[in-house]
Each structure stands twice: as C-alpha cells, then as structure tokens.
C-alpha cells in the first residue's frame, strides 16, 4: 500500500474538522473540531517524516501537540468565563464584533 493514503486520510479529517468549525454553534464542539484538524495535520507530518526518512516531521508534530495543549487550556478557560457571564456557550451569542 502506498503511504500516501495516510495523507488522503489526514486531508479528509482536516476537511471534516473545518466543516465542523463552520457549522457547530457550541463553542466546545467547535474546539473539538479544531483539535481534529490539528490531529489531521499531525498525521500528515508523521507520514512525511516517514517518507523522507528523518525525524524532523515528528519533532514538528510534537511541537504542534504542545501548542495545541496550551491552546486548549486557554481556550476552555475563555469558554468558561464567557459562559459565566452570558450563560451560554454558543459562539453566535458572542457577536459583538460588528459595528
């Protein structure tokens, strides 16, 4: 089998995550979808590293994980505070950015 299939898989997963981000209103679910996208990217990175026969791809994936962790922590904290103030976790309710 051709390891490119992993890439196809990651592409599909990424797309799924993207659609989720665009479609779901629940902030937490949106976050999960973002995680999904990150994981898809990681898969691609790992596959590349295998193809090229060096570990840089894995290092990069590693960093992605770390950053993702940090991002999740902060993001969830933000969600919690928002929920406290507005009693809702819907991203559409926080639409104060318009003029």
């Amino acid at each position: 089998m051709n390891p490119e299939n992993y890439l196809y898989l990651s592409a599909l997963l990424f797309t799924l995550g993207a659609c989720g981000v665009l479609l779901r209103r629940n902030a937490i679910v949106v976050f999960m979808c973002v995680e999904l996208m990150l994981n898809a990217a990681n898969l691609a990175l790992v596959t590349f590293s295998r193809m090229h026969g060096n570990l840089d791809g894995q290092i990069l994936a590693f960093f992605v994980m770390v950053v993702a962790a940090a991002e999740v922590v902060v993001g969830l904290a933000i969600i919690v505070t928002v929920y406290r103030s507005r009693h809702s976790a819907s991203v559409d309710d926080a639409s104060l950015m318009k003029l």
Partner: protein
C-alpha cells in the same frame, strides 16, 4: 512493538499495515463525522477520543512511537478529560440543534470545507512523493533518542519557548477562570434579613415535586391550580435546560380531584376560582391558616392524589366552620 518497528523500517508498507489502514481509516473518518454531527457535546467528545486513539495507532505504525504514546496519554488522556470537565460545567446533557441560524452559512461552509478537501486531495495526488525512504536508520538509535538528540540540539530554542508558552498558558487559564471574592461571604442570617428587606421568599424555597413512581429533583412542584412552579427546581438544572416536564395526567388528576370534592360537598359544579388561588403565594407554604390549605396541598402534591384529596376535604370543612 518490534514487529511494528520492523514494518516501519522497511521501505515499503506491508500487507498487514495495509489491512490495519483499511480497517481503522474508515473508523477514524466515522469518528470525525460523529464529532461534527452529534447533537450532544458529550457524544462528539467521545467520537473525537476514538479518532485520536486510532490516530495514535497510525503514528505507531508510522514509526513515531514516542508521538503515538504522547498522543494517547496527552490527548486522549488529558485534553479530552479537560473537555469533559468543561462540559460538566456547561451542562453535560444539553443538546444544541444543528439547525442553521445564519443565512446561507451551511452552504458556504460546505462549499468552503469540501472545496478545501478536494483541493488538498488533488494536491496530494499531484504531489509526486515518489521515493519513499523508511525510518530505518533514522530510528536505528531508537526513536526517542533520535527525537531527543534533535530536540535538544537543533530545536532547543523552540523547545524552551514552548515551555515558556505552556507556563504562560497555565497561568493565563487560572487567571481567567479564577474569581476574586471582593467582599465577605454573607452569613445565613444576613441573607434572611436581605430577603425580608426585599420582601420575597421569606421562608426557604419550596421543595421540588417528587412522584412516587419517579424520584427526581428535576421535577417542578405544582401550584394549587396545577401549574408547575419554576422556583422549586435547582437553578443550575434550570440553566442547563434539564428541568423535566410535569406529566400531563398528573395535572388532569388534580383537576378531577377538585371536581370530586366539590360534588362530595354538594357545591355547584366548577366554582369560578378555587379558594386557595386567592393568594398564590400559598404555594410558598407560608400561613398555616386553612384558607390556603389548598395551597399546601398543591405544593405537597408529592403525597399523591388521594392524600391530597383528604387534606383538601378536611381543610375545606375547617374553612366552613
């Protein structure tokens, strides 16, 4: 593990791996779909966890043993748990509808997402990653060692920076979620006095209604006229939208009971207003005088229809004396 190692070392993928891929790949996709489409956040969280596990397996089979482990431990372990905790805070079982509110949003989203996907796929198709060198000698000294040597030599700066980043993230999270208590907590007495001053809920809040057949604190108690009282349910449950409907026939039963008592006392059918409703706050259970005995009956509907009936009758007689 060794088997995996050997298989990752080769310059071409074995049939076993192919089988694994064709078996788990679709599952991973299913998990992704579930994450996107499940109406309850908990379910999508579980689907996501599944997908992540599968991805961990793929990492392993791609010779990224360290990452595979990290994936399982950090992601499926820590991050997903964090998600679940937050879900607890926000309301586990709250479902949100998938009905789109923004005009044309879903079409645009579908177009962009799918378009992006197709483009990526076609891009990969075009990208001729012809030669394929396995991780044979890269992992020769062991995958972890290899990573470590890279991480602490070439990527050391980035490593340090990410460390700092994590620290900052932790601090930031605590800062965001932490609430400073500015004034002393009110004692119970002070709260009571405050209630008196505002003149509402002088007595403690009424208890939720509990039927014999179903024991739950998420059922609202009934007012004398049978309408459910929001007050009786824990505000958290209310906020999560987990307050349960009072069953219809329960209300019907109350009606029937009243009519029967009327007939029993030979009163005219269906007097305009049941006496107890003259002051609705009888539901709050204050005032032991007979006039709003019905109020008591209404609030303590938990005793079941019959009991309620007797009490109602006696109270009515008292009222007449």
């Amino acid at each position: 593990m060794s088997a995996l190692a050997s298989l990752a070392a080769e310059t071409s993928t074995s049939t076993g791996e192919a089988a694994q891929f064709w078996l788990l790949g679709p599952l991973a996709l299913l998990g992704g779909l579930g994450t996107v489409l499940m109406r309850r956040a908990v379910y999508s969280a579980l689907c996501l966890a599944g997908t992540m596990v599968i991805l961990a397996l793929f990492y392993l089979s791609n010779g990224a043993y360290f990452l595979g482990m990290v994936q399982i431990v950090v992601y499926t372990g820590a991050v997903m748990m964090l998600f679940l905790f937050v879900l607890m805070l926000v309301g586990v079982s709250s479902t949100d509808s998938l009905k789109e509110t923004l005009k044309g949003q879903q079409w645009l989203a579908a177009a962009c997402g799918l378009g992006l996907g197709l483009l990526l796929v076609s891009g990969i198709g075009q990208a001729s990653t012809g030669s394929f060198t396995g991780l044979g000698q890269a992992n020769s000294g062991g995958n972890v060692q290899g990573l470590a040597s890279l991480l602490f030599t070439r990527y050391v700066v980035a490593f340090e920076v990410t460390g700092v980043l994590l620290t900052i993230a932790a601090v930031g999270a605590t800062l965001l979620t932490h609430r400073e208590r500015l004034e002393r907590a009110k004692s119970q007495r002070e709260q009571a006095e405050a209630r008196v001053r505002e003149n509402k809920h002088l007595p403690p809040l009424p208890a939720p209604g509990v039927y014999a057949r179903h024991n739950a604190v998420d059922l609202p108690g009934l007012l004398p006229d049978g309408s459910p009282s929001e007050l009786t349910v824990n505000p958290t449950l209310r906020a999560r939208g987990q307050m349960r409907e009072v069953h219809r026939d329960a209300l019907a039963a109350v009606r029937a009971l009243e009519q029967r008592t009327n007939r029993h006392h030979g009163r005219p059918e269906n007097p305009g207003i049941p006496a107890g409703q003259t002051n609705g706050n009888g539901a709050n259970g204050n005032g032991a005088d007979g006039v709003n005995g019905k109020g008591l009956a209404g609030s303590s509907a938990a005793d079941g229809p019959a009991g309620a009936a007797d009490e109602a009758a006696t109270d009515a007689e008292e009222a007449r004396k």
